[in-house]
Structures are given as C-alpha cells and as structure tokens.
Symmetry: C2
Subunit: 201 residues, 2 copies
Amino acid sequence: MVDPVERRRHLAEAVWRVVRREGLERASVREVAREAGVSMGSLRHYFDDQSELLTFAMRMVIERVEHRVAVLQVPDDPRLAAGRVLAELLPLDPERRAENEVWLAFTARALVDPQLRALRDEAYDLLRNACRRWVRVLLPTGTTEPGVDLETERLFALLDGLAVHAAMRPEQSSAEGLLAVLHHHLDQITASPRPAPEGLL
Amino acid sequence: MVDPVERRRHLAEAVWRVVRREGLERASVREVAREAGVSMGSLRHYFDDQSELLTFAMRMVIERVEHRVAVLQVPDDPRLAAGRVLAELLPLDPERRAENEVWLAFTARALVDPQLRALRDEAYDLLRNACRRWVRVLLPTGTTEPGVDLETERLFALLDGLAVHAAMRPEQSSAEGLLAVLHHHLDQITASPRPAPEGLL
DNA sequence: GCGTTACTAGCACGACTGTGCTAGATACTG
DNA sequence: CAGTATCTAGCACAGTCGTGCTAGTAACGC
C-alpha cells in the first residue's frame, strides 16, 4: 500500500515528537505507536525492536541535515560560502530547532549507549571535518597545522555551544543573534574582511 | 550517628555514579540505593521522593562548581584572572569531568522537566553573567553594549561547546587542548579593537 | 476462485518502576 | 531503666516497560 520507507520515516517522526514533548526516556514502543496512531504490533512490523526504532530516528536527523547542506547553493567567495554552510548548522528556523532538540536528546543518551554513540561519533567527525575545511580556507595561507587545529576546535565548539544554548533558552536565542555571533567569529578568523553582505538569512 | 547533610551528599554521589555509568534514566530509587549500599526505605528517609533526590544531586553540581570558583586565588591582572576563573569551568581533571558529565545529563532532562529546568536556568544565568563580566573587563574600554553582548554570547557558547565535546570525546579532548582554545580566544578578545557590528541579541 | 505475502491489532509474560506502608533496630533523653 | 525520636529494612501495590506470540485483515499474483 504505502511505501515502507515512507512509513518508517512517518514512525520516526512520531519518535521526534515524543522526544521533544516528553523526552527520550518516554519514547517507549507503546507511546510512539500511540503518537503515530498505530498499534504496537504494526510498529513492530517496521522495526524489530526499540533499539532499531531509535537508531533510525537518530540517523534521520543526520540525513536531514546532510541533505540540506548538500542541496545548498554556495557562493564562490569563500567567506560567504562558509557563512552560508555553517549557518545551515544553526537552529535558525522551527525545522532546524526540532532537529537540534532531538539531536541533543540522542547525543545525551549516546553518553551511555554504545549503539547511539557510534552514530554520534560518525556525525561529529563529519562536522569537525567540515569546520576544518572552512577554517583552512579562511585562515591566512601559511598558517601552521596546530593553528588550524586550534581554530577548528574553536569553531566547532562555538557552533555546538550556540546550538545547545538555542535548545535550552529559545526565548533568549534569536536567529539574528545566532547569525551575528557566527559571522562575527568568521570575520575574526578571516584574513581579509568580508565582501559586501548578501541578503538572505 | 552520621551528619544527615553528609548522608544526603553521600547518596547524591551515588546518583552521580549511576548517572555516569548508566544514564539518568537508570537512576531509579532502587538502583541508587543499591549503589549507595543502603535499602530503599533508608534512602527515602533522607529524600521524600525521587524528584527530591535528583534535584538535590543536580544542585550539588552547581554548588561544587561555585565553591571551587569562590575559593580561587585570582591574579590582579585582568587577562590572567579571566583565564584562571574561566579555566575552572572546563573539565580539566577527573573531578571536573565527572561534574561535567553529570551536568550534561541533567540539562538534557531539563529540556522536558520543569523542575530541573528552573535549576538549570538559575545556573546558566550565573554563567552568562560571569562571561559578561570578564568580557567587559577584557574588551577595549568604550566598546558598545551590543558589542559586549555579542562577545558574551560567543564566549559563553564556546565554553559550553568545549565542555560538551570534552564529555562526548574525552580521548580527543586533552586539558592542554581545552586550555589552548580558551586562552587563544581570550587573547583575541583582548587584542581586538572591536567596532560594534549591527548585532542585536 | 485460491494462495501467499504484507500488514495490523492486541494479548500475555516477566521485569522494572515509584511510593505507601509497617516493623524492627539503633541512639539519645529523661 | 524506660521512652522517644531517628534510622534502616523491605514488602505490596499499581503502573509501565519490551517483546514473543497468535490471529485477523487487506493486497496481490495466478
């Protein structure tokens, strides 16, 4: 009847809603089935056990972010390109705020769940490498490798810190504020000043 | 027999151990009592219910950090003082790493638990104000208020991001590395003749 | 039509949960 | 010594949990 892949996504979105509303510890098989409007038996036809359901829901966060970055139109200018790509990782709109909150819940559990930890590490290596690439582009040519490492860790930590704060205090954390901090930081690590700003976001 | 305050701290430390080892969702009354080597009934003599036990354990994280900062000997030089105080907030040794991991678990639950959220907000306002104070000292005199806001949010996010990364990837996050990033950042704030950007926050 | 597969529904079991409760042990006051 | 407050221990209840399991329904090839 319905595409089974789409059905799994539908169920994973029910996981997201439960996680945001009541926390990951309340994302039981029963609760998720109820949220999705199906029976436990039906849910378990698509996911063999709870672990598979949760890892799928977590992986979907990664895939959504990857997809958004992949289809991004990036300017030629390095500074502008860095701003655009890295801004995509900030929780600037409701969709990204949802992903961010869910991601936070899963990474917290990853501290004690080896299965989720593997997923988290995979995603964080991607993020770290992305930071490194943009740092390398922005820093003056000839910057030593330790210098690149330092700025990579700083940018990486800044992005995650902003995301964490945005999740915890959404009312204190506007999209404009997040972008202002990001662009200020990128300006400061860029050798040459940013060219004329471009409109959106 | 034993000081009841000390007894509560002892039990809260059992909470910490369980949280670090198995996660906050496994910190049941039974499990904590077992970890502390007492019976459920005995534990419940000191804490009326689970909620009180957990909030006490979370509050103890805040108090430990506050105490460490309070007894700190700070140099007169502002730059050195900022480095010393802010370094105290990083997970540089096993004791602080433990606090950091536990804190992370509690803040994650605070996303869906109003009681813990109040505690978290209280602590984060303290941290933010601390960041603001040191930013104000380090930035050139005459920096506009939006400029202070911007640098405060940046420093605050950087500190939390470093702590989060340290908890998630302890093997990739040495004390030297954390300190290098912090001091590099403080140096750059101090050196920068910051023109006020358009930033609002 | 029949048969096979995909899907849905939900019961049942054993394990674990928080908390109300009673009862025994220990320590201190008089 | 007795009496009382403090502390410890653990049972009992009602609830939720994951998952194994059976049975019923819909869709499809033939």
